[in-house]
Amino acid sequence: QQQVKQSPQSLIVQKGGISIINCAYENTAFDYFPWYQQFPGKGPALLIAIRPDVSEKKEGRFTISFNKSAKQFSLHIMDSQPGDSATYFCASPTMFSGGYNKLIFGAGTRLAVHP
C-alpha cells in the first residue's frame, strides 16, 4: 500500500494568520490531488484540488502549491478564521488494476484557529 505522509499532525494558528499543511506522496496516477476538510461528526468534504501539471491553484483564501519533482504539495490557508478549525486531509490518486484510480489519504492535520 502506497503511503501519503502529511505534516504537521496538529496546528494552532491565531486568527488572521497563515496555516500551512504539507503532504508527500509516492508514485501516483495522473489525476487531481485534492485536499479534504472534515468537521467533527461529519464526513470529509472536498475543499480544493489541483492538476499535477499545474504548480499552484488558488480559490479564495485557500491555495495549493504543487512540486511534482519533489513529490510534495501543500495547502495554505490565508487569513485563517475560527471557522476553519477542522481536520484537513490530503490525498494522492493511485492507479490500480483495471485502469481505475483510487485515493490514498494522509493521516490528517487538526487545525485550531484561535480568535
Binding site: 500500500q1 501519503v4 502529511q6 496516477a29 489525476d31 487531481y32 490531488f33 485534492p34 461528526g41 461529519k42 464526513g43 470529509p44 468534504a45 472536498l46 484540488a49 486531509f89 490525498a91 490518486p93 490500480f96 488494476s97 483495471g98 485502469g99 481505475y100 484510480n101 483510487k102 485515493l103 490514498i104 489519504f105 494522509g106 493521516a107 490528517g108
Partner: protein
C-alpha cells in the same frame, strides 16, 4: 441535490456480534466507496464498486467483512464477527461517472461503530 445517506449513525455492539451498515449514494453516481476511518487517522478504502460490480476490495478483511451493492444503487457493509479493532467510523462515498473525477468524492456522515 440530496447528499450521501448512511444509517445507522451510531452502533455499539459486543465483540463477536455482527453488524450491518447501509448507504444510499447520490443519484446517478455509479461509483461507490466504503472507507474505514480509525480515530486520528485518514480514511482507508475498504471496497470500491462501479455500478454493482466490485473493482477493488484489496484492503477488505474478507474473512469478516462483506459488502454488496444490489441494482447498482444502495449498498450494505457487514462485519461478522466483529473484533475490538473494528471500532471506527465507516464512511460511504460516491462520485459521478468519468475517470478524471476520482478526486471529487462525496462523503456521507458516517456510522460510528464501537465494539466492546
Amino acid at each position: 441535490e440530496a447528499g450521501v445517506a448512511q444509517s445507522p449513525r451510531y452502533k455499539i455492539i459486543e465483540k463477536r456480534q455482527s453488524v450491518a451498515f447501509w448507504c444510499n449514494p447520490i443519484s446517478g453516481h455509479a461509483t461507490l466507496y466504503w472507507y474505514q476511518q480509525i480515530l486520528g487517522q485518514g480514511p482507508k478504502l475498504l471496497i470500491q464498486f462501479q455500478n454493482n460490480g466490485v473493482v477493488d476490495d484489496s484492503q477488505l478483511p474478507k474473512d469478516r467483512f462483506s459488502a454488496e451493492r444490489l441494482k447498482g444503487v444502495d449498498s450494505t457493509l457487514k462485519i461478522q464477527p466483529a473484533k475490538l479493532e473494528d471500532s471506527a467510523v465507516y464512511l460511504c462515498a460516491s462520485r459521478s461517472p468519468g475517470r478524471d473525477t476520482t478526486y471529487e468524492q462525496y462523503f456521507g456522515p458516517g456510522t460510528r461503530l464501537t465494539v466492546t
